[in-house]
């Protein structure tokens, strides 16, 4: 009897289960896509339209800079002009999306350049999602002077990048670095400023004194750096527009270095060595007053503020080897966040606040890596004989750093890499280059 009862019960359950699952089949068909592809997005940027000979030359150059900016990210792939089916002959003409679909252009940038007799330059552009058959955002126009054409091209590229990826651009920005020349044992160094892509290099100091570690202010109008012109390392602040500089207040008999601005632009955190001990200090630029942040017998250096200004990440050998620590911006107990094998240094907080870039030395190789602020998810992005000195792009997506080749004739160069570890690129410079610091986006 019991057996029959159980049999009946099992039959009922077997019959009922599919009925219970029937709801899944009601409504639309539902599928989940978890696997896609990671490829640069194909885009087309036909030469911008211009109505004058001078304008056409500028239009060509502007178009090339826009294409180079986008392609240089590794996120986009330019479709060459010879693949175009129909040219863009008028900025106001409607776009034949079918022609661009046929060559698989997923984004299309059209534009015009107008150079007026007064020297006023007007650049307009539109961005289209080809397969959606619609414009992405509104058309935008920039007005400037002929001399500023590269910045206008960068601004167009920033807009395109931002509208497609959803995060801010970084093309209209600059990098200050140490330009190097000569052999390693007699190397001349001076501060230089360039566009993020290596163009428009300008020198800010001469090579009479050794200079180190330039750092942009949060607004990009000033630069902190360390100079040995007095024979001892000392911190200077330089106004970018006027190229005027002044030394920050220093304590007698002390060596100060590794400065970095706070997010408010009025505070500087730096290292100071006195009596063989190196500690971190914080200075108010206006008053010159400094406060002690650390007081350990170990070496504390390379401080960097969090974007909210509440914490400072720095390197210290207090545990016996160089590691990365985080402490409150006013000083206090520090927490070690690096935990892997090897030596960690030069931590830099991401402008987004979510990651910390660092240099790691392990097994006779140097790496640039990133980790979360709690030390988790450490990822090494590069590996070479010598990689060091990371700096973040304004949008926190790219890291620029110094890579130096081996040997007496080894040369330092600047490289950039995406935080995913892809798209490692050399930044073109005429001379050797090291110690980069990326500015915020320009106004």
């Amino acid at each position: 009897m019991m057996t029959r009862f159980l049999t009946l019960l099992a039959l009922l359950v077997t019959w009922a289960l599919p009925a219970a699952a029937q709801d899944e089949n009601r409504g639309p068909l539902r599928i989940e896509i978890t696997e896609g592809v990671i490829e640069p997005l194909p885009f087309a940027v036909p030469r911008f339209i211009s109505d004058s000979a001078g304008g056409r030359d500028l239009a060509e150059r502007i178009t090339r800079v826009i294409a180079a900016d986008l392609s240089g990210t590794g996120l986009f792939r330019e479709i060459r002009e010879d693949a175009f089916i129909s040219p863009i002959t008028s900025f106001s003409s409607p776009v034949q999306f079918s022609d661009w679909k046929a060559i698989n252009a997923q984004a299309l940038v059209t534009g015009s350049v107008s150079l007026e007799a007064s020297g006023r330059l007007v650049v307009q552009f539109r961005l289209y999602d080809v397969f959606a058959g619609q414009e992405m955002g509104n058309g935008l126009q920039f007005v400037g002077t002929e001399e500023g054409w590269r910045r206008m091209a960068h601004k167009v590229a920033d807009q395109v990048y931002s509208r497609i990826t959803g995060e801010g651009g970084y093309f209209d920005s600059r990098v200050v670095f140490v330009a190097e020349s000569g052999p390693k044992d007699d190397r001349a160094k001076r501060l230089a400023l360039m566009d993020y892509d290596g163009a428009n290099v300008k020198y800010l100091t001469d090579s009479s004194a050794l200079v180190l570690a330039p750092r942009f202010s949060p607004t990009g109008d000033r630069i902190l750096y360390t100079s040995y012109e007095t024979g001892r390392p000392r911190i200077y602040v330089l106004d970018v527009a006027s190229v005027q500089r002044r030394a920050l207040e220093a304590q007698d008999g002390a060596m100060s270095f590794a400065p970095r601005f706070g997010p408010d632009g009025r505070t500087v955190v730096y290292s100071l060595t006195r009596g063989g001990n190196t500690d971190l200090y914080r200075m108010d630029i206006a008053t010159g007053e400094s406060i002690h942040l650390t007081s350990a017998p170990s070496i504390e250096t390379a401080p960097s503020f969090s974007p909210d200004g509440k914490r400072i990440v720095f390197e210290s050998d207090r545990s016996g080897s160089r590691q990365i620590y985080i402490m409150p911006a006013q000083g206090g107990p520090a927490e070690r966040i690096s935990s892997g094998a090897g030596l960690y240094g030069t931590p830099v907080w991401s402008p987004r606040g979510d990651l910390i870039a660092f240099t790691k030395q392990s097994k006779r190789r140097f790496h640039i890596g990133v980790m979360r602020v709690d030390g988790s998810e450490e990822r090494l992005l590069t590996a070479s004989f010598l990689d060091e000195g990371p700096t973040w792009s304004p949008n926190g997506r790219v890291i620029m750093f110094t890579r130096e080749t081996q040997g007496a004739q080894g040369r330092a160069n600047l490289y950039s890499v995406d935080i995913t570890g892809r798209n490692l690129r050399k930044v073109p410079t005429d001379t050797g280059a090291s110690d980069p610091s990326w500015s915020p986006l320009l106004d």
Binding site: L6, L17, A19, I38, S114, R120, V143, G166
Partner: protein
């Protein structure tokens, strides 16, 4: 295999296993005949046997809001088109090494400048995009009926036949040599440019008949005057009835589609086909952390109805990240669906409405 079949199969296997292990077929029980049957879910059974289902109401397609035109561009000002006189000429800081270009809003056509209307130029006279010669999705659908020439082809010469019975030779008929009266030209045989099967004909009537309404209760008054005999409904009445039926007055708001469900292989093929065009390479890290659900309607030829593609929901990211993630998903659907997804036409009711969840979790670590 869908979840229902899987669960049903597992249940049957468990039952059979239990029956075997539990001596259910012990000799003391009366012998009975075991007949192997194909496992079928209740839903499938209902779908196969259900002749009257309520036509699925066609819901209005939600139109995705246009993205914020201004955008959060940090350093730029964007506003509607303005006259060029309003434009602020670039004024460089004399002390700055590089002149900072200023941003200006859209401008109407200046006297000697290019016109920048507020909206993208449209081409009303241009042929529809789908009809462009180079448009991939304008190609004839491979699964359409084979095309035939519009003019009929002459029939082949018939084989020579020999009658089995002999006939007497007849004298030639003098009238037979007379020229025949010219007959009036008949219209050529009707032909079409393509063969349209019945299944592919545009639906002139609801594709599914109505579920029978509940039977009326017994009349309260047996002596009630009989209702006048209904007149044959005219076309308008039929249309109205159809419209009412399609208008959502159905008792079940989400009726189960008719026909057998898609097999696991068919669903997997669709998943792979869309994933092949789902490019997340240009997405921001925030957008890569956003899962979006995209709803769309499909045509019978397997192409997505572009205007129906909409974001049903998003999780894990900000509004901007959701928009980016949705746009990447939409590009994937349109690109890889341009030639039509390989879906079984006989199960069209099953894949006419689709919700695709784009989950980039696996892609973040690649």
């Amino acid at each position: 295999m869908n979840a229902g079949q899987f669960i049903s199969g597992a249940g049957h296997l468990g039952l059979i296993g239990w029956a075997l292990a539990g001596n259910l077929f012990a000799p003391d029980t009366p012998p009975f005949e075991v007949t192997e049957v194909t496992a079928i879910s209740a839903e499938e059974y209902a779908a196969l046997t259900q002749s009257d289902t309520v036509p699925e109401a066609i819901a209005d397609v939600a139109i995705l809001d246009a993205p914020d035109p201004g955008g959060p561009a940090p350093d730029l000002s964007s506003r509607a088109d303005a006259a060029p006189e309003r434009a602020r000429p670039g004024e460089a800081d004399a002390s700055a090494p590089d002149t900072a270009p200023e941003t200006l809003p859209e401008a109407p056509p200046p006297p000697r400048a290019v016109d920048v209307p507020g909206a993208a130029p449209q081409a009303p006279a241009a042929p529809p995009e789908e009809s462009a010669a180079l448009l991939p999705d304008a190609d004839p659908q491979p699964r359409a009926a084979p095309r035939v020439r519009p003019d009929p082809v002459a029939p082949p010469e018939p084989d020579t036949l020999t009658e089995e019975t002999s006939r007497d030779e007849r004298a030639p008929d003098p009238e037979a040599d007379a020229p025949a009266e010219p007959s009036e030209a008949a219209a050529p045989e009707a032909a079409t440019t393509e063969i349209v099967t019945e299944a592919e004909k545009a639906a002139a009537a609801p594709e599914r008949s109505l579920r029978p309404r509940a039977r009326p209760g017994a009349p309260a008054d047996a002596h009630e005057e009989p209702a006048p005999e209904a007149e044959p409904p005219d076309d308008a009445a039929v249309d109205a009835a159809i419209a009412e039926a399609l208008g959502g007055d159905a008792p079940d708001p989400a009726p189960a589609p008719a026909g057998p469900p898609l097999s696991r292989g068919e669903r997997e093929a669709l998943r792979v086909a869309v994933g092949r065009c789902w490019n997340v390479g240009s997405l921001s890290t925030d957008a890569l952390g956003t899962t979006v659900v995209v709803g769309l309607e499909m045509s019978r030829d397997g192409t997505p109805v572009r205007s129906s593609i909409r974001m049903v929901g998003a999780t894990g990211g900000s509004g901007e990240a959701s928009r980016q993630a949705f746009e990447a998903a939409r590009r994937a659907i349109i690109r890889c669906g341009a030639r039509g997804f390989d879906l079984p036409p006989e199960k069209y009711d099953r894949w006419r409405d689709i919700e695709m969840t784009f989950n980039p979790e696996n892609m973040r670590t690649k």
